[in-house]
C-alpha cells in the first residue's frame, strides 16, 4: 500500500452508489476501493492484489467493469457505481446470485462479489453469451478455489433464466 494522498488536501466527491447519491471527503488519488470500503462501509469489494490483476475489487462504474483498486477517487466523481451490495432487493437475490449459489460458483467467497459483477457486465453486453464469451469475460477475474467451471456454469444458467423470464 502506498501513501495515496499525494500531498493534496481532501476534496468532497459526489457520486451515485447503488442508486443512492453519496458525498465523501477523500484525497483525490485515494483508491475508489478504499473510499467504498472505509468511507462508505461497503466491504463487499475485496482487495486481492492491489494492482488490477485479480478482479476481486471489481465494481461497475457507469456500466463499465473497473478494478476499483486502480480508480482514483477523483475519477469516480459524478459517476454511478454499482457494488455487490446493490444487487439483491432486500432478501430477494439477483438471478446471478441465485445461480452462483445453486451451481457452486462460490467456494471461499472472496472473489465472488467481483465475479458476480463481471458476470453482470458480461450479460449486459451479451445477454446470450457462448461458453467462450464467458471464459473470456472472466479472464480478468482470478479464482483459486473453483477452477472456474462452476462459475461459468452459473453465468450460463443465469443467462438462461434471464432469457426465459
Amino acid at each position: 500500500m502506498s501513501d495515496s494522498r499525494g500531498g493534496s488536501d481532501k476534496l468532497e466527491i459526489s457520486f451515485t452508489v447503488n442508486g443512492e447519491p453519496k458525498k465523501v471527503r477523500s484525497y483525490p488519488m485515494e483508491r475508489l476501493l478504499d473510499v467504498l470500503r472505509l468511507g462508505l462501509g461497503l466491504t463487499g469489494a475485496k482487495e486481492g492484489c492491489g494492482e488490477g490483476e485479480c478482479g476481486s475489487c471489481s465494481v461497475l462504474m457507469d456500466g463499465t467493469l473497473v478494478n476499483s483498486c486502480l480508480v482514483p477517487a477523483l475519477q469516480a466523481a459524478g459517476t454511478s457505481i454499482v457494488t455487490i451490495e446493490g444487487l439483491a432487493h432486500g432478501e430477494r437475490l439477483h438471478v446471478l446470485q441465485e445461480a452462483f449459489l445453486e451451481c457452486g460458483g462460490a467456494q471461499c467467497g472472496i472473489c465472488t462479489p467481483g465475479m458476480i459483477l463481471a458476470a453482470l457486465h458480461l450479460l449486459n453486453q451479451k445477454p446470450e453469451p457462448t461458453i467462450e464469451n464467458i471464459r473470456e469475460g472472466f479472464s480478468g477475474n482470478l479464482c483459486r478455489c473453483t477452477g472456474y467451471s462452476q462459475i461459468l456454469e452459473a453465468v450460463a444458467e443465469a443467462a438462461r433464466r434471464r432469457s426465459t423470464a
Binding site: M1, S2, D3, S4, R5, R37, L42, T43, G44, A45, K46, E47, G48, C49, G50, E51, E53, C54, S56, T83, I84, E85, L87, A88, L93, Q97, F100, L101, E102, C103, G104, G105, A106, Q107, C108, G109, I110, C111, T112, P113, I116, I134, R135, E136, F138, S139, G140, N141, L142, C143, R144, C145, T146, G147, Y148, S149, Q150, I151, L152
Partner: protein, 754 residues
C-alpha cells in the same frame, strides 16, 4: 425420521447467501474502535548477524508503537511441532523476510514509509539455497547437519532383487515451490486487556494451533487466549501455520499499545514472506522383471524445508508414505529427508508432500514402461495394488478397490486409445503436437499413523432453545464446504431437515479442539464425531422421556425446546477413538498409515505449440474413488479446483528465487491459471463406501492436487518424445530441451498393443 436422505444431496451452502451478497465478514472487513494498524520490519538478507538498528529521520517515531523481541512476555518462538522458529529475530536472521520489528500507527498509510525508514545493519553470513548445497553442508545453518528430519521405510528383501531384475530403471525428478495464492491475503486483528487476556480474529485454518502459540508467546493460561476465525478467503494449507506468526505479531502490538491492532498483508508481503509448497527432489532406482513387474526399489525423497523446521517433518512423512504410489512393491527402501536452506520456511499446501513424491512416481512409471517396452497403461495395470496386498508400510488393502477397472473406465471416458492412435498416425509433424498422459495415485485421509490418536479430537453438538441443533467444532470453512457437510451429517443422524442444523463460528471460547482443518480429515474423522455427538443429543432427549424412538422432526424440536427450558443449554461431546486393530509403529514407520485411502486415475490430453513452446491442456478426465460422495456439487467443485491448481503446479506457477527471496511476488508475474487457461475438467466418481467415515465418506480435499502434474507432463512427453522430469514446465524449458539433442528419448517409438 426423515424419509428423504440429506447426505448425498447438493443442499445449499450454509454461508452461501452471505458470500454471494458480499455480507460475509472477512478479517479486513472488521474494524474495532480505536484500532491501530500494524506492519512488520523484515530481514533484507538471507543470513547474518544483526549489528545495528537505526530509526531514520523525518518520521514521528513517538506516534508509533514499536515492538521488538524484548517486548515478548513469554517465549520468543512460534510454538508448533518444535519451537525453533522465533517470533521476532534477535541476534541472527536466517532467511530473507524474517520478522525483526513490529510497528503500529492509527493511520495505515504512514506504515510503508516508516517500515522503509528503519535501517538494519548486518554482518552477513554465507547462506545456502538448494537441497544440494544443504546436503553438502558447505554451511551448517540448522542443527549439526542441516537435516530437520529423516524417515526410513523398509519392506522385504531389497538387496536380493537387483540380480533377478530384467531391467534396472533410474530417474531423478524435481518439483518447485508453489504459492498457495488464496485470493484473500493473510490478516489478523488482536485486542488485549489484562482481565480477559488476548483475543485474535483472523483468516486461518487451525484455531487451536494459534491458541497454543499465543499461550507460549504471551505466557498466558488457556482461558486467557481466545482465537476466532473470520470468514476465510481460501487457504489450501497456506493458512495452517503462518497465521500463528501474524497473530503473535498483532498480539504483541496490542499488548504494548493497549489498543486493538490489525495486520493485513498486501499481496507482495504475503507472497514473499509466508509459506509455500516444499521444493523436492526424488530419486528412483527400480528393479523390474522382464515382464514389467516391479520387484523392488530404492526411493530417495528429499524436500527443502527453508530456514526453520515448522511443518517439514509431517510434510516429509506424507510424501514418503505416498512415494510408492498405488503399486505393489514386494520390496522397497524409502529414505526421506527434510533439509534446511536460507529461504522462508516452506509449509503446508494441499497434498502436503504427496504431490511431490507422486509426481516422481508417475513420471517414473512412464520411464519404466519405455524401458520394458510396455505401454503406460499396461505397466500400471501389471503393478497395481490389489486387495489383500500390502503397501510400502505393510498396510494391507482391505477395501475391494479394483484399480484396473478404475483405469479402464478412465481410458474409456477419455477415449484414450483412439486418440493416442490418431495422434501417432498423424506422425506428429507440423506446429501442433498432441499427447495423452496418465496418472494413477492414492491419497490417505486423516493424520498419518498415530496422529489422530495423539490429536484426540473432540466435537460437540448442542440442543438449542428454538429446537434446532448447533455443531461445535474447531474445523474451519475456507471454501471446501465444512459447515455444509457437517450440517448434513448432523441432520441425517438426527432425522432433521438440513435447515435445523447450524454450525458455530470457530471460536476457542465456544468450540472444543476437534483438530486442525487439514489432511483431508474433516469429513471422515470430524464428520464421524459429529454423527456420534448428534446421536448423543437424541439419546439425551429419549432417556429423559421427552422423545421416543422413531420421532418426527417436529417432535424432536419440541423435545429439544422442552429440555432447554427445563435444564438449560445441553450439549453432547464425542471424542476420537482409534478403530480397533489399527497398528502403527512410529519407530519403524510401519503399519496402518491411514484409516482410508482415496484412489484415482487422471488422464490429460495436451497440445504443444512448437512456435511458442506453450502447452495447452485440451481435455482432463478426473476419475476417483472417495467413498460415498456426501455433497455432489461441493465434491465436484473440490476436484475441479484441485485439478486447476495441479495444472498450475505443472505448467505455470514458477517461484523465481534469488538469494532465498521470491523475486516474482505479484499476481502479474507469478502466473496462476485463469478461466481461459483451463480445459473442461470432467469429474467422475466411483463409490465403494468406507467403514471409517461418516456415512462412508473418505477424504477428498487433497487428492485432486496429486495427479494433474504427472498426467500433464506424461502427456507432454507423449506429444514430443522428449523427457521432462522437472516442474513447473514452462515454455522456455521445453524450448531448451527440444534444442538439446541429448534430451530425446531412446524409447519414442509407440509400444502400444504389446
Amino acid at each position: 425420521m426423515n424419509a428423504d436422505p440429506i447426505v448425498g444431496k447438493s443442499v445449499p451452502r450454509k454461508e452461501g447467501r452471505d458470500k454471494v451478497t458480499g455480507r460475509s465478514q472477512y478479517v479486513d472487513d472488521m474494524t474495532l474502535p480505536n484500532m491501530l494498524f500494524g506492519a512488520t520490519v523484515r530481514s533484507q538478507i538471507p543470513r547474518g548477524r544483526i549489528k545495528k538498528i537505526t530509526f531514520g529521520p523525518d518520521i514521528a517515531w513517538d506516534e508509533f508503537v514499536v515492538v521488538s523481541a524484548n517486548d515478548i512476555p513469554g517465549k520468543n518462538c512460534i510454538s508448533l511441532i518444535g519451537d525453533d522458529q522465533p517470533c521476532l529475530a534477535t541476534e541472527f536472521v536466517n532467511h530473507p523476510e524474517e520478522p525483526i520489528l513490529l510497528l503500529a500507527h492509527p493511520d495505515r498509510h504512514l506504515l510503508p514509509t516508516a517500515v522503509q525508514a528503519v535501517s538494519i545493519e548486518y554482518d552477513p553470513l554465507p547462506a545456502i539455497f538448494t537441497i544440494d548445497e544443504s546436503e553438502r553442508c558447505t554451511q551448517v545453518i540448522w542443527g549439526e547437519n542441516n537435516v530437520f528430519k529423516t524417515y526410513l521405510i523398509e519392506k522385504g528383501d531389497l538387496d536380493s532383487v537387483w540380480e533377478k531384475a530384467g531391467y534396472i530403471v533410474e530417474g531423478e525428478y524435481t518439483t518447485g515451490a508453489q504459492e498457495q495464492l488464496y485470493i484473500e491475503n493473510n490478516g489478523m486483528i488482536a485486542a488485549f486487556d489484562p482481565a480477559h487476556g488476548i483475543t485474535v480474529w483472523g483468516s486461518l485454518q487451525c484455531p487451536y494451533y494459534i491458541h497454543k502459540a499465543l499461550m507460549a508467546l504471551c505466557n498466558l493460561p488457556a482461558e486467557k487466549v481466545r482465537v476466532v476465525q473470520m470468514e476465510t478467503g481460501g487457504a489450501f494449507g497456506g493458512k495452517e501455520d503462518y497465521p500463528s506468526m501474524i497473530a503473535a505479531h498483532a498480539a504483541l502490538l496490542a499488548i504494548k499499545s493497549g489498543r486493538p491492532v490489525k495486520i493485513i498483508y498486501d499481496r507482495l508481503e504475503d507472497m514473499v514472506a509466508t509459506t509455500k509448497r516444499h521444493p523436492s527432489r526424488t530419486r528412483h532406482r527400480t528393479a523390474v522383471s522382464r515382464d514389467g513387474k516391479i520387484l523392488g526399489g530404492e526411493i530417495d525423497f528429499t524436500i527443502d524445508g527453508g530456514a526453520y523446521a515448522t511443518l517439514s517433518s509431517v510434510v516429509l512423512s506424507r510424501g514418503a508414505i505416498h512415494a510408492g504410489g498405488p503399486y505393489y512393491w514386494p520390496s522397497v527402501r524409502i529414505r526421506a529427508k527434510a533439509v534446511a536452506t536460507n529461504a522462508p520456511p516452506h509449509g503446508a499446501f494441499r497434498g502436503f508432500g504427496a504431490p511431490q513424491s507422486l509426481f516422481a512416481m508417475e513420471r517414473h512409471m512412464d520411464r519404466i514402461a519405455q524401458t520394458v517396452g510396455l505401454s503406460p497403461v499396461e505397466i500400471r495395470r501389471r503393478n497395481f495394488l490389489q486387495p489383500g496386498q500390502a503397501t510400502t508400510t505393510e498396510q494391507v488393502v482391505r477395501e475391494p478397490i479394483d484399480l484396473g477397472k478404475l483405469l479402464d473406465r478412465a481410458l474409456e471416458i477419455s477415449d484414450y486409445h483412439a486418440k493416442r492412435q490418431s495422434f501417432a498416425s498423424r506422425h506428429q509433424v507440423g506446429t501442433f503436437r498432441k499427447g495423452m498422459g496418465i496418472a494413477a495415485f492414492l491419497h490417505g485421509a486423516g493424520f498419518t499413523g498415530s496422529g489422530e490418536r495423539y490429536l484426540s479430537s473432540v466435537v460437540g453438538v448442542e440442543g438449542c432453545a428454538d429446537g434446532s441443533v448447533r455443531v461445535l467444532v474447531s474445523s474451519t470453512e475456507f471454501g471446501q464446504g465444512t459447515k455444509t457437510v457437517l450440517s448434513q451429517i448432523a441432520a441425517e443422524a438426527l432425522g432433521l431437515p438440513y435447515e435445523n442444523v447450524i454450525v458455530a463460528q470457530p471460536d476457542t471460547f465456544e468450540v472444543p479442539n476437534s483438530g486442525p482443518t487439514v489432511a483431508s480429515r474433516t469429513v471422515m474423522v470430524v464428520g464421524s464425531l459429529v454423527k456420534s455427538a448428534a446421536l448423543g443429543i437424541a439419546q439425551i432427549l429419549i432417556s429423559s422421556n421427552l422423545l421416543r424412538e422413531g420421532y418426527s422432526p417436529d417432535e424432536f424440536r419440541a423435545a429439544c425446546r422442552q429440555h432447554v427450558s427445563k435444564h438449560g443449554q445441553f450439549r453432547c461431546w464425542s471424542r476420537y477413538e482409534a478403530p480397533a486393530g489399527i497398528f502403527w509403529d512410529d519407530e519403524k514407520y510401519r503399519g496402518e498409515a491411514y484409516a482410508a485411502f482415496a484412489w484415482a486415475v487422471y488422464i490429460a490430453e495436451v497440445t504443444v505449440d512448437l512456435t511458442t513452446y506453450s502447452v495447452s491442456v485440451d481435455d482432463f478426465v478426473a476419475l476417483q474413488e472417495v467413498g460415498r460422495v456426501l455433497h455432489p456439487l461441493l465434491a465436484r467443485g473440490q476436484i475441479i479446483g484441485g485439478v486447476a491448481q495441479g495444472i498450475g503446479f505443472s505448467l505455470y506457477e514458477k517461484v523465481v528465487w534469488q538469494n532465498g527471496r521470491m523475486q516474482n511476488g505479484q499476481m502479474t508475474n507469478y502466473i496462476m491459471p485463469t478461466s481461459s487457461d483451463l480445459p473442461p475438467i470432467r469429474v467422475f466418481f466411483e463409490e465403494l463406501g468406507n467403514v471409517h467415515g461418516a456415512y462412508g465418506a473418505k477424504g477428498i480435499g487433497e487428492l485432486p492436487m496429486d495427479g494433474p502434474a504427472p498426467a500433464v507432463v506424461n502427456a507432454v512427453e507423449d506429444a514430443l518424445g522428449t523427457r521432462f522430469d522437472s516442474i513447473p514446465l514452462l515454455p522456455e524449458e521445453i524450448m531448451d530441451a527440444l534444442l538439446d539433442p541429448s534430451r530425446q528419448n531412446d524409447a519414442t517409438l509407440s509400444c502400444e498393443g504389446r
